[in-house]
């Protein structure tokens, strides 16, 4: 491995306040700590206890074995309860509480045992068992706490990474980063870089601008027209560089309408459609218009009208399934935001050939002045 790791710094606080430093919230525990205690750990613990019992049976004087066994049983119950406690509360506080519980319960039992049994020379044995038992149990609890904390932490991290990847994929999908668009752009870029063409730099900054404006675009349910238009301008700049004379663009959107909001990606979808179905199929290329205006028809509610027009072959009589989905999807999102018939999206044949897509939605007066 080439990855170098910084030397671990010793956490001295573990000496007086041992246990995992991180405290998991209830939500985190619910997310990554719902599983019960590890069965492997239980088996290993029981095996160790069995060995301890065996050793005591062999080595301790016969007259104290009964009392010792009671103490061991008390330890066993107390420590498993404590381990369970730590399992669900893998923090310093949880470990402290569990350690105290696991120490005091056997002490109390031992004291009771000793008050029944007459004082004899086996005090040493009880002392040894108590001290050893407490030591073993506390160390065990410490391990349980640390192990458990790491388990939950790595699960949370894993989940966060996965969610991040999904989120990124969702955003890319939402941004409709069409692979054809991306790779064709990269193909031009590659060539212009190879040949030292000055267009490389312009294309790269247009593509960067496009990515930067489209990726966060879908974070909000509604986007100011000005922001959407910024993405569209970058997109059209990329296409203009790639297609050269084949693409002419005219954008006429008054700045006063920049704050009007609409679902993100709508305008971009219409522009992409116009390019794909209106401009690219033409041998000589074509012209694309993006226009916005305030529709103050008397009697009706005030609305914003946004148009994307091309001078291509015009809308197909029966749109291909793919084009249909893009348009249907856009229409649904628009009507989800503003309702029907307040907001409409229509595609029609333009006067003098070509297609015109038109979105109308309610004008928001309070949105006119930007915050």
């Amino acid at each position: 491995m080439t990855r170098s790791r910084a030397p671990e710094t010793i956490d001295w606080s573990q000496l007086w306040y041992p246990g995992p430093r991180r405290v998991f919230t209830a939500a985190e525990m619910a997310e990554a700590g719902q599983d019960g205690p590890s069965r492997t750990m239980l088996v290993v613990t029981l095996a160790n206890v069995a060995i301890l019992v065996g050793v005591l049976l062999v080595m301790a004087p016969p007259d104290v074995v009964g009392g010792l066994m009671l103490s061991v049983l008390a330890f066993l119950l107390a420590s498993s309860a404590a381990a369970n406690w730590v399992w669900w509360r893998p923090s310093r506080l949880g470990l402290l509480q569990a350690s105290l519980g696991a120490t005091f319960a056997p002490l109390v039992v031992t004291w009771l045992v000793r008050s029944w049994v007459p004082e004899r020379s086996d005090r040493v044995w009880h002392g040894v068992v108590l001290a050893g038992g407490v030591g073993v149990v506390v160390v065990m609890l410490w391990f349980v706490a640390v192990w458990r904390a790491q388990q939950i932490e790595s699960r949370l991290r894993e989940r966060a990474e996965r969610e991040q990847a999904i989120e990124m994929a969702r955003r890319l999908a939402a941004a409709q980063l069409e692979p054809h668009f991306l790779f064709n752009t990269l193909a031009s870029l590659q060539h212009w870089v190879d040949t030292g063409d000055a267009r490389a730099s312009r294309l790269l900054s247009a593509l960067t601008g496009y990515l930067r404006t489209t990726l966060p675009m879908f974070d909000r349910p509604l986007l100011p027209l000005a922001d959407e238009l910024a993405a569209v301008r970058h997109y059209l700049e990329v296409m203009r560089l790639r297609l050269g004379d084949r693409l002419q663009v005219e954008i006429d959107v008054p700045t006063s309408l920049g704050a009007q909001r609409l679902p993100p990606g709508l305008l971009l979808t219409l522009v992409e459609n116009a390019l794909l179905h209106g401009i690219e199929p033409q041998l000589a290329g074509g012209r694309l218009w993006v226009r916005a205006l305030r529709d103050t028809a008397p009697g009706g509610p005030e609305r914003v009208v946004l148009e994307v027009q091309d001078n291509g072959p015009g809308p197909a009589p029966d749109p291909s399934p793919r084009q249909g989905t893009g348009l249907t999807n856009a229409r649904q999102r628009l009507q989800l935001a503003y309702g029907h018939p307040a907001a409409t999206l229509e595609l029609a044949a333009a006067d003098g050939g070509g297609a015109i897509a038109r979105i109308r939605w309610p004008f928001e007066p309070q949105a006119s002045t930007r915050p």
């Binding site: 692979p179 054809h180 991306l182 790779f183 064709n184 990269l186 193909a187 031009s188 870029l189 590659q190 060539h191 212009w192 190879d194 040949t195 063409d197 267009r199 790639r242 297609l243 050269g244 084949r246 690219e280 199929p281 033409q282 041998l283 072959p313 197909a316 009589p317 029966d318 291909s320």
Partner: protein, 255 residues
């Protein structure tokens, strides 16, 4: 081994990827003779008929005719290599079959492989691609390409614009930069070049029989083969004879 220099056609509607491929070919295959470069599907098909290259490098998305449609017309007469920006599902088929494909931006390594493959093919199978593999791929790809066909043509004659229903057309003939439309009621010139018109016509109805002639099949009475391999069409109720060029003689093979 073919001693003649291999010839190629390169078609892409975008300048930069096209130039990139040309530059790549120059270094990967210096002796390859690129006889034609086209910026759309219509020009690509026309250039194919004019130059008859051994190899065709075709972008898939092109105006006029798509690379797929050009390849289908070329059929077995040349080895076709598709260039595309994105690996559509059909690429698996290309990979397995006779036709090769290149992903844009084209890398030198990948192009070298293609060149290797093409050299082998030219050396072993004169005439090009494995027809069954190509046909299978193309059948799948062409299914999803709806096309809108004009029903009426508008020809300017002096001061008037005459409307000619497309199904009354007998044949089209390229005439310099115009196209002569011969129809039931006479003939007229339209401004759309024949090669562009071709992309707008229903192939089932209108058969291209020559680089500069498209005939409505209903009006063909017979195809007559001459002594030196040439072929002519006789039309129903008309005296003129149309030449069928070598490329299209396969349309008339009898049953």
């Amino acid at each position: 081994m073919n001693t003649r220099q291999a010839t190629a056609l390169v078609a892409d509607d975008e300048e930069a990827p096209r130039d990139q491929l040309l530059a790549g070919l120059r270094s990967a295959w210096p002796e390859l003779d690129v006889v034609a470069v086209a910026g759309n599907g219509v020009d690509a098909w026309d250039a194919f008929l004019e130059h008859e290259p051994d190899l065709c490098f075709l972008d898939i998305r092109m105006p006029g005719l798509s690379g797929i449609e050009v390849a289908r017309r070329i059929g077995e007469r040349a080895a076709v290599v598709f260039a595309t920006a994105h690996g559509d599902h059909a690429l698996a088929a290309f990979d397995a079959g006779a036709v090769d494909y290149l992903l844009k931006p084209v890398t030198a390594d990948r192009l070298a492989q293609t060149v290797q493959r093409l050299r082998l093919r030219l050396a072993s199978v004169p005439g090009g691609a494995d027809p069954t593999a190509l046909a299978a791929v193309l059948a799948r790809l062409t299914a999803a390409q709806p096309r809108r066909l004009p029903t009426v043509l508008q020809a300017t004659v002096g001061r008037e614009v005459r409307l000619i229903p497309v199904d009354e057309v007998v044949y089209f003939e390229a005439d310099a930069r115009y196209t002569r439309v011969v129809h039931a009621g006479g003939d007229a010139l339209i401004r759309t070049p024949l090669k562009e018109l071709l992309a707008q016509l229903d192939e089932q109805q209108f058969w291209q029989v020559h680089r500069s002639t498209i005939v409505h099949h209903r009006h063909i009475a017979a195809a007559v083969r001459g002594d030196e391999g040439q072929m002519h069409l006789l039309l129903r109720g008309r005296s003129e004879r149309l030449t069928v060029s070598r490329h299209f003689q396969g349309l008339f093979k009898g049953q």
